[in-house]
């Protein structure tokens, strides 16, 4: 009961702030609205029994990734972009139309699925996820480290000063 009310609340807030995040012309407001949306997603995770992911979502996205965004926005002097559509009205219309079609289509498809009541109560605790990570998903877990290494080397390469 309580959970249901919370879900619809965060869903509405999440969608609205997502709209602000992609449409407002001030980049700092964009980033902050996205923080709100991601927070709403974290709450949804908690409602879905994924408590570890909920915490990780805030820690990783709100606490690190979006701070990085803010950092870059400020480093580059928070440039405000000229209004959209000034130079490419076509792309704007096409983009919005595509997204609208995608949203309508996916909702139509998803509303059409008949889903049974949630099956098991698999709680996403840190321990349960940890056992999976070093068990069946060990390869991906190790492999992701190569990915992070590559990203680190690449990001540094792009911004370091000439020697």
């Amino acid at each position: 009961m309580m959970g249901t009310a919370v879900f619809y609340l965060v869903a509405v807030v999440g969608v609205v702030s997502a709209l602000v995040a992609v449409s407002h012309k001030n980049p700092v407001v964009n980033v902050l609205s996205l923080v709100v949306t991601l927070f709403c997603i974290a709450v949804s995770y908690a409602l879905l029994g994924a408590e570890f992911l909920a915490a990780a979502q805030i820690l990783v996205y709100a606490g690190a990734i979006l701070v990085l965004f803010l950092f870059v926005v400020m480093l580059l002097g928070a440039p405000e972009e000229p209004p959209v559509g000034e130079r490419r009205p076509f792309q704007r219309v096409a983009g919005l139309a595509l997204a609208g079609i995608a949203a309508a289509g996916s909702i139509a498809v998803l509303a059409g699925i008949r889903v049974a009541a949630p099956a098991g109560a698999a709680q996403g605790t840190a321990e349960a996820l940890g056992r999976l990570l070093v068990g069946p998903y060990l390869f991906a877990f190790e492999f992701i480290s190569v990915l992070l290494l590559a990203a680190m080397v690449g990001a540094l390469m792009l911004v370091k000063r000439k020697h």
Binding site: L110, I113, G135, F139, F143, V146, L147, A150, L158
Partner: protein, 481 residues
């Protein structure tokens, strides 16, 4: 995890370690930088040897990977591409004074991503391998010449398109998971066999999104718009790499996904769509290529068309089709790398466009490289006795055998169109007079070596394709279990 799991991925481990070593060596022993290319190439060769001498145990790492003959086949040509690119990158890096260590390190990481992708048996591993190792390294490699506007532009465009495609793919994976309840391709095949899911909207929407993601990465029409800019802007050795390795690994992944879901549930529904994409890619790629003045852009559109041909092999899914795809990938690798190797030697600066008119008259002045370029063009056009002809023949034959003769007919017609712009390159090389002030091009030996190897492969495999064919047949058998 057990020791056999580690043994199964020994080549990948070797490349990861060597990549990290090269990055570190750049900082600690800068004097050795000019030798990094040789080290990277040698590691790739060693990895290939390990792959061919090592075990092929099938599913390893709790079903995350399948190390089978198919994976070995794809690995081989990925590694060949790495060796060739490592060789031609030397002169480029020397000219631009870029960071050697990072370049080769990322090249090796990228190759590992492609190799993992080629043997992924789980949507999770596909996602990580495809999007990230393959893409993240490539975003940086595209923008490697970061003082140049076009290089940064190429990196940015590839990043946005790549990330957009990965998001599409991820949502597709989510929907597929919603329908099947598993990430494993092997398990998906079982689920699909047990329960007919053909009409399930989730699986259809999921496949559509995943297909769009793959389409972006393979630069298939209508997801192709990024390719010309990225091809033109990236450093030429990187273009050579990115035009062959990601596409090959991804086509094989696509084949694995299709093999898991098809034929029970999907083939009839998806056939027209895939066929349309294939035809559109061939037609658009070849027609727009005619209008190009820049060789790299022309090759980009030609690449779009070639992925359209290769997709015919997937549409005509089955043993013949798969063999066709594999041979096509191998052929495409040698002819494309040959073309880019020569183009990189025929240009003064990476920032300037590589105009076709710049090639005028070079045929007589620089006979060896020009001959290789001409050979590559004939092969891309599919003219016998080159390997390009063999590849096209196999793919179209597979289509005919599957009762899709019309698809083959369209393909052949599209190939006829393409002859025009491929041969135009040869025409410029040999029939046009050398301009008064022809730039003095460098012709470093590494480029000549690569050109020679590729030329030999184009003709050799074109005349004696049985070796390649046998390898591809062995590989294809494993997928159709």
């Amino acid at each position: 995890m057990n020791p056999s799991d580690l043994a199964a991925i020994a080549p990948e481990l070797l490349l990861v370690v060597m990549g990290a070593v090269l990055v570190l060596a750049d900082a600690f022993v800068p004097a050795l930088r000019p030798r990094f290319g040789a080290v990277a190439g040698a590691s790739a060769v060693a990895a290939a040897v390990l792959r061919w001498t090592g075990p092929l145990p099938g599913a390893v790492w709790s079903g995350a990977l399948v190390v089978d003959p198919l994976a070995r086949f794809v690995d081989s040509y990925i590694l060949v591409a790495v060796v060739l690119v490592a060789i031609i990158a030397g002169p480029y890096l020397a000219r631009t004074a870029a960071s050697y260590g990072e370049f080769y390190g990322l090249l090796l990481f990228s190759a590992v991503g492609a190799m993992v992708l080629a043997k992924a048996d789980s949507l999770l591993v596909i996602f990580i391998g495809l999007e990230l190792l393959l893409s993240i390294s490539l975003y940086v490699l595209n923008a490697f010449h970061r003082d140049s506007g076009v290089s940064l532009e190429a990196g940015w465009k590839y990043l946005v398109v790549g990330a957009f495609a990965s998001a599409l793919l991820l949502f597709g994976i989510a929907l597929l998971y919603g329908a099947t309840g598993t990430f494993s391709l092997a398990a998906t095949a079982r689920v699909v066999a047990e329960r007919p899911l053909a009409g399930n909207p989730l699986i259809l929407a999921g496949l559509a999104l995943a297909l769009a993601g793959f389409g972006f990465k393979l630069a298939l029409v209508p997801f192709h718009a990024w390719a010309p800019d990225v091809y033109q802007g990236s450093p030429t050795p990187v273009t050579a790499f990115l035009s062959v390795v990601p596409k090959g690994a991804m086509l094989v992944t696509l084949a694995r996904v299709v093999a898991a879901l098809a034929p029970q549930a999907l083939t009839p529904k998806w056939l027209p769509l895939l066929a349309t994409i294939a035809i559109a890619s061939q037609v658009l790629g070849n027609l727009v290529a005619i209008a190009q003045r820049d060789v790299k852009r022309m090759l980009a559109y030609s690449g779009i068309a070639h992925m359209g041909y290769a997709l015919v092999g997937i549409v005509a899914f089955g043993f013949d089709g798969l063999v066709g795809v594999l041979v096509y990938l191998a052929a495409y690798t040698v002819m494309n790398i040959a073309a880019f190797a020569v183009v990189s030697a025929f240009s003064e600066s990476e920032d300037e466009p590589h105009l076709i008119t710049d090639l005028a008259g070079q045929g007589w002045r620089r006979p060896f490289l020009s001959f290789t370029l001409a050979l590559a063009m004939f092969s891309l056009a599919g003219i016998p006795p080159t390997v390009g002809f063999v590849a096209k023949f196999l793919v179209f034959r597979a289509a005919v055998n599957q009762g899709l003769a019309w698809l083959a007919v369209v393909g052949v017609l599209a190939s006829f169109v393409s002859v025009f712009f491929y041969v135009r390159v040869v025409y410029y090389l040999y029939m046009k007079p050398l301009p008064q002030r022809a730039p003095a091009y460098l012709e470093p030996w590494p480029v000549r070596v690569v050109a020679g190897v590729c030329a030999l492969a184009i003709v050799g495999l074109g005349i004696f394709p049985s070796w390649l064919l046998n390898a591809a047949e062995t590989a294809a058998k494993t997928l159709l279990r």
